[in-house]
Symmetry: C2
Subunit: 408 residues, 2 copies
């Protein structure tokens, strides 16, 4: 099928030709409205006119950056990788990925479950909403997706096939290389220029060569370490949940990259939220919940990943009978410690880049009182620096917690 | 063109249809003879009947392992990767790669320069032949090929395209994973079973869990570290040279892998040769030459790689203006130290696997006196263990030399 850009009218007609969607809606009359506020794509809610609860989400990529317009070209093939990642992750952890009704790489379109009772995690956390299952769910999601797309589980051929299917996601990988690891730490036209001009911390950061050298090491790891299929942009805006269910969405940045990157993204965004509450609401109870969540996610991830690994008798890396169980366990524990270290390093990059870089996070950049915002930014940069300077020698999750709690 | 297996008769007919080959031979009558003694492919020397010096080498892959026969299937697509690597390396370092007259991925065939006055490096070294340009040439080859296919030189898109073109070389990568990093260190039917049974060092090695845990770490690096396009099998049998010229051949194992693997392969094979002379010829002068070569290759590689990097103002990794020159240099020096470390680690794997694994090297396995062979094997395993246990903390090339010289 040849690609064409859909709108609220043509989308209905398009969906009429998709059996899986028609099976869902039956003969109901349909209506569509645009609901997306994302930067990249168009998102529509398509629902039954007679029963608004009967609804699906349609997401289509256009060959430019939606939030800027047609002058900022961005190939719509990003949806190809989002589709492939959704399908891959759905197979591995079906309960944490929305149901998929229709995917077309030609049309750069995906039709999926409407999460009508779920909120974006970032919004929930900013409103001090606790989610009792978050740590449990997201640690399972991380352990399952990372382990089962790695050489610790797959055979060599399957691993290389996986790399093949995501290797051309160059454009979005490059966005990360540029915006997460480079531009936000130097003079660059994409930065938040007002803040760069007014906040003396910008100069400090841009001249902090020790810190920037470490960032370079993490960038190199991002560019060359083919551990597992990662989501690639797992901030708290990519998670939708309620008290019962948790869903991970928007994996268009997916590629075979380093284990620690998704974990780091999540930790970074939880810590940014913690800083928001430290400065704005001063809600000590919720801050405690956030710290507990960071601790639980890191510890549960580790134990679940290790458990999956122990149950795997043969893999591309470790052939059955090659070493004794005791040595294998020692190796695995060191391996997991290195994932923890890298996660914390990546978390530091991800936090620091939000201060002056092109895309801020609501919890920090959205603080309207300038003094408080500056206070929050100083905290972000303080913790990020601790993370980035010390990640290589971390021994435990508690040390990470200490770095967060001891920040001014 | 559809693939068909050629022989000494049909090959002439085939070549008649290739313009570049006919441009070379003109209207001369041609004859072909099989000259290959390799494990994998058929190699023919095609020459002019009237002028035997006018000759080309034709190499064709068959869909099985030549040295075993049709019952050991091995996809002929390995030649696809050999062709791509020859073309890539030829572009980067033309003087160290034979001239290519014709390449066909369909026919799994390559026609190239006949190196009539050149010897396989392994044979030369075993005959105590010194090559005054070896260190200079091979360090240039390594620095050029590794630097210019890495993210330190290429932009993100070109790097990913390079990965794409070699990512499916799964079969040969898997041979390395199995034979270099796994089978040779455990009971396995592919091993040299007689030696495993008779030599008590086999039991020591197979039960050396500390050592095997380190091997596992190096195997993981081999499987997941996408630094640069590597040759993948750069032992002294893959180098042909004389007093003036040096050529690197047979890159069918090429893929985007870790920087240290090719360097390590070369070091391993030079050290194996050193051990041969220590035990068999006791030629102290030539041993000195081999040690000097190891030192020169490692040091020249480092300075040439650094020089290329310093002249590169902008790359996928390091954007111009991101850090000051002093910090950049510090980063690069640490980076190069890590390449040295990994090279020595890989050298250790490559040496140790030659003792009991499926494919020995002539210098060691070919020693007919059993006592001397055992002595040599003990030395190989002793040095390999030093390399593998200590590579992570190496600070200098001289330490590496010390490990070699201090072996019993």
């Amino acid at each position: 099928m040849e690609y064409r850009e859909l709108d609220v009218v043509s989308i209905i007609e398009y969906l009429r030709s998709v059996k899986e969607v028609m099976d869902y809606f039956g003969s109901d009359e349909l209506s569509a409205k645009e609901v997306g506020d994302g930067n990249l794509n168009y998102v529509y809610l398509v629902s039954s006119v007679s029963d608004a609860k009967k609804a699906l989400i349609v997401k289509q990529a256009v060959p430019y950056l939606r939030c800027v317009g047609e002058e900022f070209a961005l190939s719509r093939e990003r949806m190809t990788f989002e589709i492939r990642a959704l399908e891959e992750f759905k197979k591995i952890t079906p309960s944490f990925v929305p149901n998929l009704y229709h995917c077309s790489e030609d049309m750069s379109i995906v039709v999926m479950q409407y999460l009508d009772s779920h909120l974006i995690l970032r919004e929930g956390l900013t409103a001090a909403q606790k989610y009792p299952n978050l740590s449990e769910h997201i640690s399972t999601y991380l352990a399952q997706t990372l382990f089962k797309t790695s050489s610790l589980y797959l055979d060599s051929t399957s691993k290389r096939e996986l790399i093949d299917r995501f290797n051309s996601n160059t454009e979005l990988c490059k966005l990360t290389e540029d915006f997460v690891f480079t531009s936000a730490f130097m003079d660059d036209e994409t930065n938040d220029s007002e803040n760069v001009k007014e906040n003396p911390l910008a100069k400090n950061l841009f001249e902090d060569m020790e810190f920037k050298e470490k960032i370079l090491g993490l960038k190199y790891k991002f560019m060359t370490q083919s551990d597992a299929l990662i989501h690639g942009d797992l901030h708290t805006g990519s998670i939708m949940l309620n008290q019962d269910e948790t869903f991970v969405i928007d994996p268009e940045f997916a590629f075979v990259g380093p284990f620690g990157f998704d974990i780091g993204a999540l930790v970074a965004n939880l810590v940014n939220n913690y800083i928001h509450h430290s400065v704005v609401t001063k809600d000590e109870d919720f801050k405690e919940y956030l710290l507990d969540s960071v601790k639980e996610i890191l510890e549960l991830f580790e134990s679940k990943f290790l458990d999956l690994w122990n149950r795997q008798k043969d893999s591309a890396l470790l052939r059955d009978g090659y070493i004794d169980d005791e040595t294998a366990l020692k190796y695995k524990q060191k391996f997991l410690k290195n994932i923890l270290r890298d996660s914390v390093g990546f978390a530091g990059c991800k936090m620091a880049r939000r201060v002056f870089g092109v895309a801020g996070v609501a919890e920090i950049r959205g603080i309207e009182n300038k003094e408080l915002r500056n206070e929050a930014e100083a905290m972000v940069l303080g913790i990020a620096r601790e993370f980035v300077m010390k990640y290589k020698n971390l021994e435990s999750v508690d040390e990470v917690l200490g770095m967060i709690k001891n920040a001014r």
